[in-house]
Symmetry: D2
Subunit: 380 residues, 4 copies
């Protein structure tokens, strides 16, 4: 059942050891090879990774090769694919003031270089998409960075790296991952909207799209479904990070579906209707009070809930009472052009007089929304 969805998990997700700002790890490190086998067994399609998830910082060149070879052999054995790869530009203390937007030019240069090395690794592993999450690109003391300069440097880095991909003949596409804050006070490109706009300012906008994450938009209380709608509308949904999050809190990265089932349903329905065919990637981790076994409960739950919601979305749209309710809400009519394309100014101005009459109709949204609840709860 689950294979049709191309489910993927980051190595860092199932491998998350449960460390947090106030406490030590609660789980032992997990060998990436073990993750491959366990994920394959659970029905996942593939994995994703940061450079340093696989090859720890400071590894020698020889050891690097040995690790990569072993991992490739694990991929082969399990039949798993690599959905995306990315660079860790946030963990090393040198990135404390930013990576592509550090005030220190030396750090910026090293960050671009680290991304290049990591792109090489991603290409070698056959990743489709290369993600950039600029977790350190931001400020606490706003006066320390002119945001216009920071955006200019951000653009420069992405432009240089897209040139690099083209020069190397890699087939990778880039996907930017916005986030409003944490670990920085305020992060540049805080939402799907800001990142979509940023792409239009790039040298090679056609090879850059988005990797939106449920938790990141939800932290700011924005509608993730609307955000995905705008990304799809722009043809820029290259990848997606699924998890769960409560608004106005630290980055929680809970199991997909663990919060806000209605929004999760609307999201899955939109993805399925839009024919999204990229990896369905879970960027989440098990609760910290889980042991090693609980990690696999977590992973199985993510996939189980997605698959169930996809089925419910189909069921929902097939229900006659839903079709009726959508019609009474004029939902389909929103797909029709408002104007004829000709010069209608006089006609449109005259139709203002119709407003009082147009005010009386209802849109039956309570009924429609209750039908969603009914289907979610299995009442229909």
């Amino acid at each position: 059942m689950t294979n049709e969805h191309r489910f993927t998990f980051g190595l860092w997700t199932v491998g998350n050891p449960g460390r947090d700002p106030f406490g030590d790890p609660t789980r032992a490190p997990l060998d990436p090879a073990r993750s491959l086998h366990k994920l394959a067994e659970l029905g996942a399609w593939g994995v994703s990774l940061h450079d340093n998830d696989l090859v720890p910082w400071g590894t020698s060149a020889a050891e690097h090769d040995r690790i990569v070879a072993r991992f490739k052999s694990g991929l082969e054995q399990t039949g798993l694919g690599v959905g995306m790869a990315t660079t860790n530009l946030f963990g090393h203390p040198a990135f404390k003031d930013g990576a592509f937007t550090s005030n220190d030019r030396g750090v910026r240069r090293a960050a671009v270089g680290k991304a290049m090395r990591s792109i090489d690794l991603g290409a070698e592993l056959g990743a489709e998409v290369y993600v950039f999450w600029g977790g350190r690109e931001g400020t606490e003391a706003g006066v320390a960075k002119d945001p216009r300069d920071a955006l200019e440097r951000y653009r420069e880095a992405i432009d240089v790296l897209s040139d690099y991909v083209v020069d190397q003949g890699y087939r990778l596409r880039f996907a930017l991952e916005p986030k409003p804050n944490e670990p920085r006070g305020d992060i540049f490109l805080p939402t799907v909207g800001h990142a979509l706009h940023f792409i239009t300012m790039l040298k090679r906008p056609e090879m850059v799209g988005l990797n939106p994450e449920v938790a990141h938009e939800t932290m700011a209380g924005l509608s993730f479904v609307h955000a995905i709608g705008q990304a799809l509308w722009a043809g820029k949904l290259f990848h997606i990070d699924l998890n769960a999050q409560r608004t106005g809190r630290y980055d929680q990265d809970f199991r997909f579906g663990a919060e806000d089932l209605k929004e999760a349903f609307l999201l899955v329905r939109l993805l399925e209707r839009a024919g999204y065919d990229g990896p369905v990637h879970f960027d989440a981790h098990a609760y910290r009070n889980e042991d090693a076994e609980g990690v696999w409960d977590f992973a199985a739950g993510c996939m189980r809930t997605y698959a169930a919601l996809a089925e419910k979305a189909e069921q929902f749209d097939a229900l006659p009472e839903v079709q009726d309710a959508l019609a009474r809400a004029s939902a389909g009519e929103l797909g029709e052009p408002t104007t004829s394309g000709g010069d209608e100014a006089d006609a449109l101005k005259a139709e203002v007089e119709d407003l009082d009459a147009l005010a009386s109709r209802g849109y039956f949204n309570e009924n429609l929304d209750q039908l969603v609840v009914d289907v979610l709860l299995g009442l229909r």
Copy 2:
């Protein structure tokens, strides 16, 4: 002192009668002519207005002309300008499901027609900028609107209206005003970022920019200074709405500077350094427990605080200890290109080895941020 800043106030701001979702008005309606005289006396440069602030819904054509003539004569007498004009597409019950994105095509057509009529009025009054705040363009029951359809209809409306402006030979530019929610559960184009991207999808992107509002980004906890930075970077800051707001609450529209003085300072500093020369518009209102007199305390306070912060921004940048601190933070270095423009891939990759050494330096942001506090508090 204040004239240099081109301060403007909406007729609806000083005229706000203090009605809220739980209570009746606390102040009598204010004659727009009275507002003109009082604002001129306080040192404002101009006013702004919705069509129905001046000409109430349902006014006859003859009465319309009389009202407009009287208002123009008031402008002439006081020497005030019209900073911007806009259409009320949210108050009439017909817009309850949206205006440009209502599911009802008739409502959408009437909304476009109302905007055309209102554009005519704005042009007649000499407005520089025409604002669109899509307060009703959104959902509570997300299933009722495919967000892709909604954005398509939104685009169509702005495209038709920009054609109309060109056809009429008006010199108006458009400015979109994003907002995340309220009065709808989720509003389309929720942030500066989403709106900046939307503009790039339009037929005439060059004539459309933004009217960002402090309260709207702040409701979602996003950095308004970073948002304005991105708008300036894109050349799209056509107008601005200043007020004050606490994060995660209903739309408060407090007096400028009433909340978050440091962010207000950073904002004013950015606007002044960027040479923003549009209207400095206050979209705010007096606390509901004020009487008619308190409204003018409110208006004077907005201008007083902006002017004081502008002076402090100049003073801040002239302080030798600030210049030192900015240098120690490498703030200026962020303005320098990271790369040389040539093929540096190998060099950049090699510089990754420098990261451990680069980690040791500090950025002196505590010192720098405390200097902001010191200057704000008049300690330097």
Copy 3:
């Protein structure tokens, strides 16, 4: 099915005309008598009301009596009860600076007097509980009120009113309804916790409990289930206001279950397990884009979802896999005393050495939480 739950609706909820801060009403006023009949038909147990929901401000004494008599006859005809009554101390402009905590002593006295009159009405209508929602008791300009004075005045008002109830021989109990903000910038007694503490400072704490509301705790991002837990633990859950809300937004008062189904499930489960037998009161209203018919879709949906969740709660607790998972999470062990009651200091100190060994176990919360999702989605 629904009658077992004693569902009640405020007259102001089904009668909500759809006015909001940005728009005019979208529905005509609803005759309270009509509401009684329609609610009875839908299976509600009763209604609740503010004084001015039934008797508008400014009504003559004669008209007052006529209205009340007609309403009582409506109650008799329909068999509906009155779950609670309350005073409108927020709508009249005189309350713009507060009611019991207005800086103006005259307003405070009139507010107490209005509450007395309204208590008389509530007693006449047979209300079990009398609610106080202090929507105007707060500040925007914090400097205008010393919070200690405000709490002292608040206490005085409740003490005087509880004396009044005793003097009159009424059998009413009071229930305080906390809210963090809106319509004031910050409201006193912002959460269930603050109100529970306030009760302990009163003259007659035994006759005062709480009326917590889903939306109000959720606005501040607090766990409503934990809040209800603390209120039940203290024996203070006298009444409850159910609806739905997204965190960090304006007060939405959506249909119960329209947001956060998991939290709604946990809430219903807790209420049912605790044997809560007060009114199950919906303080919510139909979306503004509904017409008169949609109001009843809204009301039916509230009851339908509550009843469904109550059934699912029973089903959940009966599942063997749930009982297993609860056992593996040691959920029942939390009910056992930690200590023996004797002097165990030395033993307890010695057991610190066990911590390293205690760290290895898991709590199976992913499994347990997924079982909640499974039951909600009808997968088990």
Copy 4:
């Protein structure tokens, strides 16, 4: 100048190494002895500590004694006092499901034992106040803990520990520190209000008060000034944690005054007017992009801003225009009883008729709030 305020810093604050959920430490560990000398030099009155800030987990008894002796000698040399002590019940992985409210009884017992050991240490060091921050007392999977059981266990632990203090003859008072979330999804006793109420349920309420923290109330968007007002009103402000935070985000612990200067001013004014004489404790840390030197910029800034705001509070209250404005706002009138104490029911009911007349006055809050801004900015 600063000594009058009894400023204290936690060892963990200046010693914070800059580790966060996404990155490694950026600063080397700091020897507590070094902190003592540096803080004394900067003008602090004292320090505070968790048991494991001074004596790392796993230290042998002999080493424990050596460390403590050396620390006491450092206190003597510097003349610094110990403002408060507390137990680390959150860092060790055994506390992953809670400490006093872990579902595992063995963990709960060890947590009580660890607190006893740590209380012994606090008493030895002469701490005035013993703080409990229950950072792990909460849930992500709400179904795993009945909140009533959790509160019962929490109460048991505090009761047992207060008995222990009395039995040992220590002069310590307890102070509970509420927090809404992080590191748990939802923490029990999430706000000042919940904790104030909890204290009233204890066996020895007189020896238990609060340690409220700016960041914790602010995370939930609650007014910290109102919260402190309620704590002072109840006589329960035993200690305070000062820092800065933006609403709706991860726990930031910024330098005091770095965010929301107006709220900081109102807080300092309230503390000074109330004669709060406990430690003025900074629970904050330097930005992660600071090096070792920047830590002391951070510490100096906290004290500098507090002292400056305390002076401004005095200046504010002495200004004739402020006294006028407070009078026009009837601020003092809020301190007067509303009622006479006699039976006034008839009179109070009659005064309801005055409401229409009472509605017309203003409260001059814009003027008053602008005076706060003026004084903050040094404009008066």
